[in-house]
């Protein structure tokens, strides 16, 4: 429950903001699915799944374009200030993160269609593991954005460093395997790029959470739930 996007006397303003928010989440759902499919396509070496990801990629771009227009219209019509303006700017930045995450999914899918060699079982296992972490992170950040849940957003920001660590470890294992068997070097190189894409997707998820946090930082927009202790005067907002 939030006061952040609603409560305007002009209900149409509420409607426009909530619709924008809903569209951001929809785009997030699409991008999440792209990442899932692209990762699965790589680990299972499924060219058809990879093709589907590439076919759907333009939808991600068109979401991006439509949402830009929606935001501009909202700003032009409503001249938002304070928390409303912060919310719109944050959502605009969230869309940019999602668009880039979608781009990474496309890169992963292209890998499947580009080279001959599929990853060995150890590499596939690593990519599956790190892919799962990245997908969970993106899923959580979208959930946080959907519910405007600051607590969850903070968790996502913290968890990204775990993904970064796993990525580092996975990369090291990959390089070790490549050094032991130089014939698999090209496959290892592409696998490294896939791992990097997944790490970047984690970063975009973390940034999404940060943009959500920025929506309520400062001023009167953030009202802390905890009641004031009885003996001290009630706090006026949080600053």
């Amino acid at each position: 429950m939030t006061v952040l996007l609603e409560g305007h006397t002009a209900k149409a303003f509420d409607g426009a903001l909530l619709t924008l928010h809903m569209h951001v989440i929809e785009m997030g759902g699409l991008v999440l699915d792209q990442v899932r499919e692209a990762t699965r396509a790589y680990t299972e070496w499924d060219a058809q799944a990879a093709e589907r990801v590439l076919e759907r990629d333009p939808s991600v771009n068109s979401y991006d374009a439509r949402l830009k227009e929606e935001q501009i219209n909202l700003i032009a019509r409503r001249q938002p200030v304070a928390s409303d303006l912060k919310a719109i700017i944050s959502m605009s930045q969230a869309v940019a993160e999602l668009e880039r995450a979608g781009h990474e999914a496309r890169k992963i899918a292209r890998t499947v269609l580009k080279i001959e060699g599929r990853p060995g079982p150890a590499t596939a296992r690593d990519v599956r593991h790190i892919g799962r972490l990245a997908i969970e992170l993106l899923h959580s950040s979208l959930q946080a954005f959907d519910r405007l849940d600051q607590r969850l957003a903070a968790e996502v920001v913290a968890q990204d460093s775990e993904l970064d660590a796993e990525y580092g470890a996975g990369l090291r294992r990959l390089l070790t395997r490549a050094m032991e068997d130089p014939r698999g070097f090209e496959v290892a190189l592409e696998a490294a790029f896939v791992l990097k894409s997944l790490e970047r997707i984690g970063d975009h998820a973390r940034n999404l959470a940060r943009h959500l946090q920025a929506m309520s930082l400062g001023g009167a927009a953030a009202v802390i739930e905890e009641p004031a202790p009885a003996l001290t005067p009630p706090p006026a907002a949080n600053r």
Partner: protein
């Protein structure tokens, strides 16, 4: 002697994400407070702790301390303490009946003309109490001019409208001097080029926007230090409004301006400081970017985002 209360100041210029996080940590707030809808169990917002933001300025023209206004038994303004900065525009905003017009009318003692009106507290202009027995209220109203919502040109020629003040106050010695004052005032009000060939024409024949600029010229002719404007553009179309706002931008290089406005967009466009009034109290005052970008009080936030009522 009431010491001006300096409320918690928000970081000037908005601060950075990092500094906000440090500030939150320092204030011992939970890092992930959930936003929630206001409920009846939430502590009531009150201004009893004083206005939020920056009440004082470095070089004030006006200083108001504990200013209250009563119309008979009804208290229209409650303990207003605020400074008005030199050669700046201060916008007074708030819902109808909040006291912003009453506040502005105090600054040139227009409330004196209302039967049953009583003013308590102090207002100083350049350090001198304007209610002092020795002070000259006529002179005050020349130093602190006023432009009203509905343009009110005298039913005289354009020239005589502007010349009236200087004549009455004996500001000029010769006809040539008077011509000069009229010309300069009309120029400063951005009206000269439109009327220079018809100064003898009746002022009431001008358009609404021109009439308002004529009223501004009339005010300028008596060499004010401060110009008060009570919703000066409410009766004007958007083009005339833009002309007046542009004029305000120019005028603030030489004059201090206080503007009451119903339009928050206008307040955001023309002012450097904004004061938000509510039910006779000053809720928040500060740099316009801060009040509209990052208001400190929930009442302010609700009003400017249209969540009021």
């Amino acid at each position: 002697m009431h010491e001006p209360r300096r409320a918690e100041a928000h970081e000037a210029g908005g601060g950075s994400d990092e500094s906000r996080r440090l500030l939150e940590a320092g204030l011992n707030l939970k890092p992930s407070g959930r936003v929630h809808a206001p409920s009846s169990t939430a502590p009531p917002e009150s201004a009893s702790s004083g206005a939020a933001g920056e009440i004082t300025v470095a070089d004030p023209v006006f200083s108001c301390r504990d200013l209250s206004v009563f119309y008979g038994d009804k208290r229209a303004l409650k303990n207003i303490s605020v400074d008005i900065g030199r050669r700046q525009v201060l916008a007074a905003i708030g819902p109808s009946g909040c006291g912003k017009s009453t506040f502005v009318r105090c600054l040139n003692r227009m409330n004196d003309t209302i039967p049953g009106a009583r003013v308590t507290g102090t207002i100083t202009l350049d350090g001198q109490d304007i209610h002092d027995a020795a002070s000259d209220v006529v002179r005050l109203r020349a130093r602190v001019g006023m432009v009203f919502q509905k343009p009110n040109p005298f039913p005289k020629s354009i020239y005589d409208n502007v010349a009236y003040g200087p004549r009455i106050h004996g500001l000029t010695r010769s006809r040539a001097d008077l011509d000069e004052v009229v010309c300069t005032s009309l120029q400063r009000a951005g009206l000269w080029s439109e009327v220079k060939d018809r100064l003898k024409a009746l002022a009431t024949g001008l358009s609404g926007g021109q009439q308002q600029r004529l009223c501004i010229a009339r005010t300028l002719a008596v060499q004010p230090e401060v110009i008060l404007m009570d919703e000066p553009c409410s009766a004007l179309d958007p083009i005339a409004t833009a002309h007046v706002e542009d004029l305000i931008d120019e005028l603030r290089e030489s004059y201090t301006i206080v503007i009451v406005t119903h339009s928050m967009q206008q307040a955001a466009r023309v002012s450097q400081r904004t004061a938000y009034f509510h039910l006779g109290e000053l809720i928040e005052v500060g740099a316009t970017e801060q009040v509209f970008g990052n208001p400190q009080r929930k009442l302010t936030e609700d009003y400017i985002t249209g969540r009021f009522g």
